[in-house]
Symmetry: C2
Subunit: 334 residues, 2 copies
Amino acid sequence: MPVTIVDVARKAGVSTATVSRVLHKSPKVDATTRARVRETLEELGYSPNIPARSLVTKRTRTVGLVITTIADPFFADIVRGVEDVAIENDYGVILCDSNADPEREMATIRLFQEKRVDGIIVASSRVGDLYLGLLEKTKVPVVLVNNEKTGSYVYSVGTDDVAGGEMATEYLIQLGHRRIGYIAGLADAKSTYDRLTGYRQALRKHGLPFDSSLLAPGNARPDGGLSGMNQLLTDCPSLTAVFCYNDLTAIGALKALRIAGKSVPDLVSVMGYDDLLFAAYSEPPLTTIEQRKYDLGAIAMRMLLDLQSGVESVSNNVLEPRLVIRESCSPAKS
Amino acid sequence: MPVTIVDVARKAGVSTATVSRVLHKSPKVDATTRARVRETLEELGYSPNIPARSLVTKRTRTVGLVITTIADPFFADIVRGVEDVAIENDYGVILCDSNADPEREMATIRLFQEKRVDGIIVASSRVGDLYLGLLEKTKVPVVLVNNEKTGSYVYSVGTDDVAGGEMATEYLIQLGHRRIGYIAGLADAKSTYDRLTGYRQALRKHGLPFDSSLLAPGNARPDGGLSGMNQLLTDCPSLTAVFCYNDLTAIGALKALRIAGKSVPDLVSVMGYDDLLFAAYSEPPLTTIEQRKYDLGAIAMRMLLDLQSGVESVSNNVLEPRLVIRESCSPAKS
DNA sequence: GGTTGATGTGTAAACGTTTACATCAGCAAT
DNA sequence: ATTGCTGATGTAAACGTTTACACATCAACC
């Protein structure tokens, strides 16, 4: 039913090869034929069949994108970055929300393989070592976001989370805080540990002891922040500041503090991470560490594009985080 | 390089037709051959080439999804719904963030066409009438989310926004409010007007006059809520409640009120719409109208699936909104 | 011991492209 | 008049599947 290249060829009185050539702007075609073919293309409303083309070119102009969950605005921005550069280059993005479910992730990877995507971007912080091997076997280039496992065909782009964690903690220390809590993210995410490492480095640098009772588990979501903060409040009533794995965790912590009647930042300072849209709208507005979320996605996609076109110089990228000061942190009362 | 069906056929000593048959669980194949082929499939690590298959079946097992912007968590939930049922059925979803840019939307639709998607879900509230015609021409089924333009090949699923707007407004009226503002969403979105219609219906029902100075423009984002609220505060200082197009608008309004020193809900009640994750975490927690965002996406995808399998009974769906009472609205002080 | 029917398997065409190679026309140089 | 180019175009194979159709085998029947 849809019009094919042979319909066009017949109507324009040329061969399919010629039509294909004008479609690809090949120089080897006479100006008048080109014009005639163009006209016929237009007239018939031809639309190329990409799957058919892929069969011979072995390129699908499609990439796969795996993320932990689109419900987290942090990932939403990464997706935007990927999308934007993809569409600019006539690429399609197949999105897959892994929901942190390993089985689901495997299904996703299998789907990507079967669809013969040209590359895969994985922004699911947990990157099964399980399937990294599987990925390498397929020989399709992979770019990891905020994760640094490497191997052949595997590249990465990320934020320096150790530096971010250190920056956040150091700011609190400089405000005079001595008892600073940390509410963690997903237990198996690299970023959770990197930020914790930064936190410990800052403490050490300033000669402060590390006290594991100041650590609370979280889940990178508000409910985890709420429960983590509650735990901290009972375990360490003396704390005066808390560094949260991310902004979602922070708004949970803010709620816990509000319920407990501890005013922020007067009694407790709260530091977030990510600088999501709503960070500027919370009460109080959140002091946080900015990650260039959009750029993370855009760069990842560009790396894939470079890889496609054979640019060998693709290097692993690390972006620097930045402190954004708002009103949720204030000097410690002595 | 990758192993094909003929590699498998050769190695298993059968024809490609037979391999294809076991791949499709056709009953017409002997148990022992089936076992042998299965084994070979496994051994060689065969992965079907979907683009090649599509060429003959004319099905790509891929759908296109257009949304206004993934930065709005409302759409993120729709995406989750679509994704979930898609992957369950071995479908891939090509996501496209239109950014409310018509040119971009056209590029997207073209891409979808060329990739020969099996169906398209449009959750971009503005649905160019421009390209609806274009869509019909391609004869690929389309499901519109929260939008009701209809035509052949076009189906829809949405929330009853008029009812939602009425429900929100009526609740405020019942709390004793008489001067109720409305901060709008994107100017060309149907939902903006539907919710406004509901608002007006509620006023009429209760014999309250409609006063256009109680209307402020917005943009479905926090900054629009902030400026809209500021406008309302200067134009109508007597208002005691405001109905916001969505929760994002509401958090902007909350911030404006905080800055103006008007306490919520004591002096001004604020009503949201959508019931996003953070609605329960704002200060004060937001009273809002819940939309079944996830279901909107899941149903849309299921409709597409039904359409694929020739189920003719696909009907347009409308979901009922629900009032979620938290703490941002209280009885009007008399 | 044919005929029938069922069952399992193979053959080959088709899907819509791209592209290596062949062909051809025109023309300049010999 | 032949040769050799050059540039434009056509021919046909290839990509990896699915599937209509044909074929072969075998059991069961009269």
